[in-house]
Structures are given as C-alpha cells and as structure tokens.
Amino acid sequence: MTAVLDISDLAVTFSTRDGLVKAVDGVTLSVARGEVLGLVGESGSGKSVTGLAVLGLIDAPGRIAAGSIRFQGRELVGLSEAELRKLRGRHVAMIFQDPMTTLNPVLRVDTQMIEAIQAHEKVSDKAARDRAAQALTKVGIPSPQERLNSYPHQFSGGMRQRVAIAIALLHGPAVLVADEPTTALDVTIQAQILAEVQQLCSEMGTALIWITHDLAVVAGLADRIAVMYAGRIVEEGPVDAVLDAPRHPYTAGLIGSVPSRNRRGERLAQIPGMTPSLARLPEGCSFGPRCPRVQADCRVAQPSPTEGAGGRRWRCVHPVVDEPVPA
C-alpha cells in the first residue's frame, strides 16, 4: 500500500512565557488509501496539534519547527497560504470536535455549503445546491432540500456534526482528519456517526485519521493505532497487536484504566501521577516518572523507536514483553 500522507520527524513548537514548548516532537506517521488510523492520547499529548499541522493550520505563536508532511508525494510544509487553500477542503479536510467551529452561525446551511463547493469548482448555484442536498442525504439527514434552508442553531448537536461531516466530504478528500468528532455526543448518536463515516470512507477510499482519547472507539473503527504521550508517538501498530499485547507501559496503563465488564468491582490499574507540563519535561523518557518499569537507564536519553514485527514501533528501553494485559 502506498501512503497518501507521510509525516516524518514533525516538530511543532509554541513560544510561550515559559519558553519554547514542543507540542509535537519527532512524529512520524503515514496513512494509506482507505486506511483508518486512530491517533490516541490524553489532553495535551499533541494529538490535535498533529492534526492541525496536516491542514497547515498552525498559527503563531506556534510553528512547524522541523520535519516534513508529504501529501501524495508533495511537500506541504512551507507551502504558501494560497497553495494550502487549494488543498484544504478539497484534498485534505478536517472535522472538529465542536461542529460550530466549522459552521457559521449567521449563515444558512445552503449558503455555507454552496460556498464550500464553489471555492474549488466552477459550478452554478443550482448545481452546487443539488450537490449539497446529495451530501446531506449521504450523511443521513432527512428531507435535505428543506434542511438546507435552516440555520445551524436549528439542528441538534448530532445533526450539526453530520452537516460538518457532509461539508468535509463534499469534494471527496483523499485525507480526512477527524478531531474527537463524537466526544460530545450521546452513545446512540455517536454510533450513527461512526456508521456513516465508516461507510463513506470505504466507498470513497478516503484515508482517515481519527483523533481521540477513547481507546474503545478506536478499537471498533481503526486499522492501525498510534499512541501519543507528551508530544511523541510512544507506540504504533495494528490495532489487534497493540491492544492485545502493548509494548509501551503507557499503552498498557491506558488499557488497564478503561473500566470494563471483566473487571467489575475490581480496582482499575491506574497510572500514578499526571501528564507532565510540556515546558518542563523530565530528563530521558517523558513517561519515566509515572512508569512502573522505570530503571536508571530510562533517565539518560529519550528512547529512540524500536521496530518490531508486523509494522510495530515503540519508544521504550524496557518494553512490556511477555505480559499481555488481562483481557
């Protein structure tokens, strides 16, 4: 499989009062056509910043300090704003957690969708409107012709997220970045949206990067999973391999933290402490101070990636080997 999107050694820094903060530090990732990659991490791990960088949406005081992002072989880092605009929305699209980030509250849905279509293609208003209606039908919005005349506030939360998804998919993008789009939704609505996205991506061959803190959603949706901690990808690989036999102690800790049927009433395997501030990262491995397997050599240097069988990678000096997490 050839990669549609290839990120290598990406570093994004923000200059703050506390000094230069590396929100993303040496991230290497790729996604192939039709593949679903789950990018998992807790607040402040750099997962959203990675997603924004793909769209060229890092604004001052942040900047891409190093690395490259290649889309179908073409380098995106360093492109002018005009060139990025031609790509964004057409070839690379994004869905945000809050659909109101995408939607303009004072414009009707048809105005916004027609604008999005005509930004990239010369088509008549009538033809654009018809396409907008088709797009709404595809994401499961009933009576789309009437709904096009509505304002965003006239939709429920789940419906609004569908409109945002319809807009993101208008041009059949090759890469779709979804940043926690179902986190604020109820389970039944979340399942409806996951079903729509799953179907649309398989129909159109869109490569999907699904950013979330919820391991369970990724388990059900993704082909591969990448776990981020303090700006770095600490583990990456096929979903089954990573979830059944995690190598990095942080991944193992995350899996142990998820409440589930089999551990009813037992204590959850909690990870002690909390995520470190990116401005004051510990020496050596960032996870060291919270890690149950930490040894003296962990504090020497940031562990470099180890390649394993089946396309797995992890950054750990003392990985979990023969201890699969209790199911």
């Binding site: 391991l215 369970a216 998820v258 589930s260 009813r264 009433g265 959850l268 395997a269 909690q270 909390m274």
Partner: protein, 338 residues
C-alpha cells in the same frame, strides 16, 4: 430485610415556560398559545439500600441529572416524595431536615463551576463543617488536613486556590468538600466525565475506597455505560424522564430486557470489539416538550406493536430484582420458557 436509605416515590419534575407578554397579547387576538411544559422526570420510583451503588444511566435530556438533584435536595419535586430513612424530606421537622440534607451530598461534573474560585481550599472544604458545628473553628485546619489526606491530596495545598490545580485534583477537592460534612449518601453527577482516562481510573478507585472505608451509598449518574458497569451494583436506565429498566448490574449488561437498553448496549464501543460495523439506532431522542404517546420509545423501537402507543407501560418483573417498562419483551420471554 434492611430498610432503604433513600426512597423515591412517584417523583415528577415539570418545568413550565409561561406564555410571555407578547404571547398573552397574541392570545387576546386568538393565537391560542399555551404554557410549554417539559416533564423532565415523570413518575419515577426507586429505593436505594444502604451501602449500595445505584447507577443511573441515559442520554442527554433523559432527566437523570434532574432526578439526582432532587435526591440531593437541591430541587424540590413537583410531585411525589423523597424519603430519607423512611421519612418524607419535605415534611420533616427543621432539625431532622438539616440532618437529612447533610447526609445526602452531591458531587458535580465540572469542579471549576462548583468550586468558588476566590476561596482557598481550606475554606472550600472547611466552611460547611464549621457552620454546621461538626468541628470548631479552631479545629478546622486539622480537620481539613485529615479530609484532604483521605481523598489523596497533600494537606500542604490547603492554602491554594482552585485554579492552581489540575482537573483530577479539582475533582478530589469537590469530593473532599462533600465528605467534610460526613454524608451517608453521595450523588455523583457525571463526576468523572470530564477527566482523562488515566485520571478517571484514579478517581473511580478513590470512590471505591471511600465506599469501603466510610460505608457510603452512591447514586452514580452517568452517560458512560462502561463506568457504570464497573462501579454499580444496580443500574437504572432512563429514557425521556422515565425509568425503563432497573436491575442488578450483571443482569442489565448480560440480559437487557428493554429494547432501548439493548440498543444502548450495542452502541457502546468496547476494547474487545475490533473493526466492527457500527449500526445505528434510528432517529434521535424526541423533544421532551412533546413526547410520543404511550411508551416514549416506540417510534424508534424495532419491536413496537400498536399496543405500545396506548398507555404508559408499567414496570414488570422479569427476573430477580429485574424490572422493565416494556409490553413486548416480557411476553417474548415467557413464550420462550413455555
């Protein structure tokens, strides 16, 4: 048999939006506008036994938080009674009422919205026990230190303000404040929903330790079925203001009887369900302003019969401590047995 510590009897809560001045003028001209009534909670019965954890689950707008607030005494019910140790809270003598109010404490979802940003932790946690005479003003410092230690915070932080803490620590401060008045029952309203998974696990473990050490009873309100499955002894599922299923936790998750519970459980993403096809329950939750007739769930239900449109389905017993408000599934069950 032990008596329930909290009994909810036929409790309803209605919120009324009155016709405004413009509407009343329009009515003079014959517009025929009437008051809008939302039945947030609609005739709920539930008995909570001492020492048990009851999980209350449902989606946004199903009335679970409103019910939790009524139990905690923050809101009076429009109809029905809430009893603490058998006595109606609304008609108690003042002294007994205060005792009941202190015995049932609430923990909120967003600690930043429920902790006063201008107060130091020592005041936040220590104010209520001093006011209620549980501890003298001179003994406040020591008492707060002890309470903070219990929830896993360093007593040295009591001079700080809420904004100086992380989300997980703020959740602990909220718990410490509730514990400071020595409650018997904690109502937790989405208490772990805003936390990262690893921090959520820490707080859930804390809840379980406190339950063991202090003999607490919990009403655990949450939309997260995974969390409820983990912590609850019994689970009540709500849909549009009504309890549609009530059963021991194992039974709800192993043999859900109400079609809504079944659908809800199918949708929950699980670690062990890989690369699955997500299916979709049809439609969205109807507006509580105008709920469907009969069983509220029938327009979305795959098993709905014409009988479901008429009359509220009563809760019927389908197993040991297992009741469900469905007219269809219990009949299917007995047909299978026979």
């Amino acid at each position: 048999m032990t008596a329930p510590i909290v009994t909810i009897e036929g409790v309803s809560k209605r919120f009324v939006k009155k016709v405004d001045l413009a509407g009343r003028i329009a009515n003079v001209m014959g517009a025929g506008l009437s008051d809008q009534v939302v039945r947030a909670v609609d005739g709920v019965d539930l008995a909570i036994m001492p020492g048990e954890v009851v999980g209350l689950v449902g989606e946004s707008g199903c009335g679970k938080s409103t019910l939790g607030r009524m139990v905690a005494g923050i809101m009076p019910p429009t109809e029905g009674r809430i009893r603490y140790r058998g006595e109606d809270v609304a008609t108690m003598a003042a002294g007994r009422r205060k005792e009941a109010d202190l015995a049932i404490q609430m923990i909120f979802q967003d600690p930043m919205a429920s902790l006063n940003p201008r107060m130091r932790v020592e005041e936040i946690v220590g104010e209520a026990p001093v006011v209620h005479g549980l501890v003298s003003a001179a003994g406040r410092r020591d008492y707060v230190a002890e309470t903070l230690t219990r929830v896993g915070l360093d007593p040295a932080v009591m001079g700080r303000f809420p904004h100086q803490f992380s989300g997980g620590q703020r959740a602990r401060i909220g718990i410490a404040r509730a514990l400071a008045v020595k409650p018997k029952v904690l109502v937790c309203d989405e208490a772990v929903a805003a936390l990262d998974v690893s921090i959520q696990a820490q707080v859930l473990n804390l809840f379980m330790d406190l339950r063991r050490d202090l003999d607490l009873t919990y009403l655990f309100v949450s939309h997260d079925l995974g969390v409820v499955e983990h912590i609850a002894d019994r689970v009540a599922v709500m849909y549009l203001g009504r309890i549609v299923e009530l059963a021991p936790a194992e039974a709800v998750f192993a043999r859900p009887m109400h079609p809504y519970t079944q659908a809800l459980l199918e949708e929950v993403p699980r670690l062990d369900a890989r690369k699955r096809a997500f299916s979709a329950l049809k439609g969205e939750i109807p507006s509580p302003l105008d709920p469907p007739e009969g069983c509220h769930f029938h327009p979305r239900c795959r098993l709905a019969l014409s009988a479901c449109r008429n009359g509220r389905p009563p809760l019927v017993t389908v197993g040991e401590g297992h009741t469900t408000a469905c007219k269809v599934t219990p009949a299917m069950l007995s047909a299978r047995v026979a």
